[in-house]
């Protein structure tokens, strides 16, 4: 599904990603862990088309297409979803209007008719139930004044609405209480299908108790320095990153 080859990216001349290689296949869950500032969010942003970064080297193909030349909206329409580490507040744009526009733009891209109002409301209700957010949030401006936890649940709600093929969840677990964490993880698991995949960026092994990854990768200083099964997360939790630093470049 996703093939990342030797991907390097910089911002203002500062190298942040230094040759990333990663393959994600349909049906898989990949966890990416790594210390603060190692480039996890940058990788997510580069994959979803944020134009702040300069791609200095490498290729990414997604479902056989050259991902890096696609506009962000086209990546989303092709099924890529980013759960933001810091969801953006957009005063004056209601959640309902936002989601209706997004759903219909994606439908248009697929050659489908816009969804009628009652079907749309039905869809909203169904997905709201999945993430257990307050219905009132739908009539409020996007993320404006949402609590930290509400913002994160709202990301999962949007993911549920858009049913992506590849979701990249950037620290969706941070700032969540234990119940919310379960709800979020449950949401992710319910949306899991044999033909889709997810990349879960997290600092805590705790989330991985609920969303069981097939692979765990450690991103350190712009490189994936270690990849293994889910036991790696447990090891990290116990030993911290110092242990990895010594293995730098081992992979």
């Amino acid at each position: 599904m996703l093939k990342i080859r030797n991907l390097s990216a910089s911002i203002d001349g500062k190298m942040i990603l230094k040759g990333i290689n990663l393959d994600v296949n349909a049906g898989e869950v990949h966890a990416i862990m790594g210390p603060n500032g190692s480039g996890k969010s940058t990788l997510a942003a580069v994959l979803t088309g944020r134009n702040l970064y300069e791609i200095t080297e490498g290729q990414v193909t997604y479902l056989g297409k050259d991902l890096l030349t696609m506009a962000p909206e086209d990546r989303a329409r092709a099924g890529i979803f980013l759960g933001f580490q810091y969801p953006i507040e957009i005063p004056g744009v209601s959640m309902a209007n936002f989601m209706r526009t997004a759903v219909n733009e994606i439908r248009k891209f697929k050659g489908q008719q816009p969804m009628n109002a009652s079907d749309f409301m039905k869809l909203i209700r169904e997905k709201i139930a999945l993430v257990e957010i307050d219905t009132k949030l739908i009539n409020r401006s996007v993320n404006e004044g949402f609590s930290g936890g509400e913002k994160k649940k709202n990301e999962i709600f949007q993911m549920a609405m858009l049913e992506p093929m590849l979701s990249i969840l950037d620290e969706t677990d941070s700032g969540l209480d234990i119940d919310a964490l379960k709800i979020v993880a449950n949401g992710v698991n319910m949306l899991k299908r044999p033909d889709n995949a997810s990349i879960v960026i997290t600092h805590y092994q705790r989330l991985l108790d609920y969303i069981v990854p097939d692979f765990v990768h450690i991103l350190y200083d712009g490189r994936i320095v270690k990849s293994a099964g889910k036991e790696l997360a447990v090891e990290l939790e116990a030993k911290g990153y110092d242990w990895i630093k010594n293995h730098d470049g081992d992979e």
């Binding site: 989303a76 933001f84 936002f98």
Partner: protein, 455 residues
């Protein structure tokens, strides 16, 4: 030197226009109006059309606008069509009392019997001067100071008609009054109408003005509106400006508020070649509230200039100004917001905000707050921002599959939302929301530019 001679000849030619039509002008009006007319032309001879040397007009040269050749009509033209055919309101839920101005002249259009029974007067300014001399003379020319601005003097010298509205004490109008102000002619023309709106004590009214140009000629409108809000009265005043790129509109509004009155104005500038709005508010009684909102959307070479003055002359008054602008292409804008708090105006609250989005590098905005505060126990604040669309918000929308064009539109609409939301008549609010959306989508071209979709 060259410019100076040009300027002198422009003002001279405008005075000549007066002199050569003097008898027509004087014959059309009452002695009271004519006395003011003569004072005004003398004053105009002294000060003329404002130049860029004038602090109030320093960002836009009015010379080219006034130097074009315009026809001026000194009497009401006979029209060979039914005036109400010009206008079909497509807001079914919006039930209004309709008044129509065509090229500055009031045209009879249905009666307002139920309102007349309550003592409400609505109609022609020229007629009101004759029929209600006492009421008229008590207010006409009292608030629009001919010394303050050459354009006010110019209008006072030339104005022949316009709208007169009187709402007696204790009368609350149920329906909004809608003034459709149309310019439409086969020749380029200059229009200078004059409106007078008087709200009695404890009265209440909602007035909507729609400015349209319905033919492709060049137009210059230089209008003056005087509004008096008596004690404890309440007025909502919404103006939708929607003229074509060949139309220049200068509209000077003078609002005189007495104790405990509440006035909200909302000026939505959707379209027009050159728009200049002078909004002057005198808070002449204690406990007044004034809200002044404005939204301008401009592109190509359009220019929208909002100049406000809130004069806090009395204690315990609150004023709140919020103007927003979106400038595209080479469009330019000005916000010049003045707040005076006089020595006696203790416990004044005055807020002013101006936010702008520039969509291109060539678009321009000059924003200038001007606060003069002579009282000590006051709360005043002002803030201005000039920026682009929020990149993070753009990316967030795009990352959900929303195309960049649509995303920009959503953010611009959101930006405008705060102002439109202040409109208190719901169907009108929805309609304006719609219009703004169309305008931002570029779907509001000149031909269907009539906000109210006249056919």
């Amino acid at each position: 030197m060259y410019i100076e001679t040009e300027k002198i000849s422009l003002n001279e030619s405008l005075v000549d226009l007066f002199n050569s039509n003097r008898s027509l002008l004087l014959r059309a009006s009452t002695d009271h109006v004519n006395a003011l007319r003569m004072q005004a032309i003398d004053q105009f001879k002294k000060i003329g059309i404002p130049t860029k040397k004038d602090e109030n007009y320093k960002y836009y040269d009015l010379d080219p606008v006034f130097s074009r050749k315009y026809d001026v009509h000194f009497s009401r033209k006979k029209i060979d069509f039914n005036i109400s055919d010009l206008f079909k309101c497509d807001i079914p839920e919006l039930d209004t009392d309709l008044l129509i101005l065509l090229n500055g002249w009031y045209y009879e259009n249905g009666n307002h019997d139920d309102l007349m029974k309550q003592g409400v007067v609505m109609g022609s300014l020229a007629l009101a001067a004759v029929e209600y001399p006492q009421l008229f003379e008590q207010h006409y020319g009292r608030y629009a100071d001919i010394k303050s601005d050459g354009l006010v003097a110019f209008n006072t010298a030339f104005a022949l008609d316009g709208i007169f509205i009187y709402v007696p004490d204790n009368v609350m109008l149920e329906r909004p009054v809608q003034i459709i102000n149309i310019v439409m002619d086969k020749v380029d023309s200059m229009v200078q109408h004059r409106n007078l709106i008087v709200l009695g004590k404890n009265s209440k009214a909602s007035i909507v003005i729609c400015d349209h140009s319905l033919s492709a000629n060049q137009f210059l409108t230089n209008s003056v509106t005087e509004i008096v809000a008596s004690e404890n009265s309440s007025l909502d005043y919404t103006r939708v400006q929607n003229e074509h790129n060949g139309a220049a509109q200068i509209s000077s509004t003078f609002i005189h508020q007495l104790a405990d009155s509440r006035v909200s104005t909302n000026t939505i500038s959707l379209h027009g070649g050159f728009i200049r709005n002078n909004l002057n508010v005198m808070l002449a009684g204690k406990g007044c509230e004034n809200n002044m909102y404005g939204l301008s959307l401009s592109d190509k070479f359009q220019h929208v200039d909002n100049s406000t003055l809130i004069d806090h002359a009395m204690p315990n008054c609150t004023s709140n100004q919020k103007f927003k602008g979106v400038m595209d292409d080479m469009a330019s804008g000005v916000f010049y917001g003045k707040i005076f708090v006089r020595k006696d105006a203790q416990h004044t609250h005055a807020y002013q905000g101006n936010n702008n989005i520039l969509l291109t590098d060539d678009a321009k905005i000059n924003t200038r707050p001007h606060l003069e505060i002579y009282a000590d126990d006051v709360k005043c604040s002002h803030g201005a921002t000039v920026g682009q669309l929020d990149e993070n918000a753009m990316f967030y929308l795009q990352s959900r599959g929303i195309g960049s064009k649509e995303a920009r539109l959503m953010l611009m609409t959101a930006f405008a939302h705060e102002i439109i939301d202040q409109i208190k008549v719901d169907p009108l609010k929805d309609r304006i929301y719609d219009l703004v959306n169309k305008r931002l989508r570029g779907e509001l071209s000149r031909c269907n530019s009539c906000a109210m979709n006249c056919n």
